[in-house]
């Protein structure tokens, strides 16, 4: 498959905000972007899916709790089971946790404040589908903007994530939300499904973001699709 032949879908729910930037990041990486609607009953033949940030369904009940029942999510769960790469950013991370594709849950920031700033992250795992373009231990500067980003899971789950190298990113210098073990992003057992609270799609060009450090996530996924 050529890079431009790789089709990466970006879901729009009622209340999604960052679908436009996610599609722009896909194009900047060199792939073709495909708009997916929450009511879609199929994935239009895409090769990977991004669940973007925002406030799907107004964050009613819990963040991501209603989005997980959207028709398109049924297909995303099925595709992820078959090994399709899936990335959830911010609200998308919350949706993937609620849908059971990733363990744990994102809860109210420990300081209660909505946090909006550029944040340093450390790459802990550069072998997942979404992180191969990074060097292990590299520091990235990427925007964060969330009120409910405190990653919580039971201790044995946290131990297993650490033991299996499934923590993708950790907050460095300052933990913005009280996440357990400074976890900013994780992946599933196969390294195909990834979720993180920071916004790589907002950091693909120094003109519009703090850095282009986020572009590597989209290039990493594209590499794996082209190689497949």
């Amino acid at each position: 498959m050529s890079a431009a032949g790789a089709r990466i879908g970006v879901i729009t729910f009622p209340g999604s905000l960052d679908d436009g930037d996610a599609r722009r990041a896909v194009r900047r990486a060199g792939a073709s972007d495909v708009a997916l609607w929450h009511g879609d009953a199929d994935l239009h033949g895409v090769d990977a899916v991004i669940v973007p940030g925002g406030f799907s369904y107004g964050d009613y009940l819990r963040c991501g709790a209603i989005a997980k029942f959207a028709p398109v999510m049924t297909e995303v769960v099925r595709a992820a089971d078959r090994g399709m790469p899936v990335l959830g950013v911010c609200n998308g991370f919350q949706v993937l946790c609620e849908a059971g594709l990733l363990p744990g849950v994102l809860t109210r920031n420990s300081g209660l404040h909505y946090v909006c700033r550029d944040q340093w992250l450390r790459v802990e795992n550069n072998t997942s589908t979404w992180t191969t373009r990074y060097e292990a231990g590299a520091d990235l500067l990427v925007p964060i903007k969330h009120g409910e980003g405190r990653y919580v899971a039971e201790e044995p789950v946290l131990d297993r994530l650490e033991g299996e190298g499934r923590v993708l990113f950790r907050y460095v210098e300052d933990n913005p939300n009280g996440s357990r073990r400074d976890i900013a992003g994780i992946t599933d057992e196969r390294g195909r499904v990834a979720g993180l609270m920071p916004h790589p799609e907002h950091a693909i060009d120094p003109l519009t973001g703090p850095t282009d450090d986020g572009l590597g996530m989209f290039l990493s996924a594209l590499d794996s699709l082209v190689a497949a």
Binding site: L61, R62, A65, V105, T107, R108, N109, R150, V152, G178
Partner: protein, 79 residues
């Protein structure tokens, strides 16, 4: 029709910053003696008589609560 109440509370071991903020605000208003506040949710459901307890439990477990962080309790009340 029957009325069902589902209470959803953060688990004891889960940090509840909202409850803490409420607790911290009480002394500022002159209310002393409240040492802890936990904040949860209460759902009131009007259900047909044929909706059984097992169905209600699945609604609570799979949707109204996230069992990773929340406990839930279902009870039928006089409507």
């Amino acid at each position: 029709m029957a009325r069902v109440v589902v209470d959803v509370m953060p688990k004891q071991e889960i940090l509840d910053p909202q409850g803490q903020a409420v607790a911290n605000a009480l002394p500022r208003q002159g209310f002393e003696g409240v040492s802890q506040v936990r904040q949860g949710k209460r759902f009131e459901l009007e259900v047909d008589e044929n909706v059984d307890d097992d169905t209600l439990a699945r609604i609570a477990e799979n949707f109204l609560a996230n069992p990773v962080i929340e406990d839930w309790a279902v009870r039928r009340v006089e409507s």
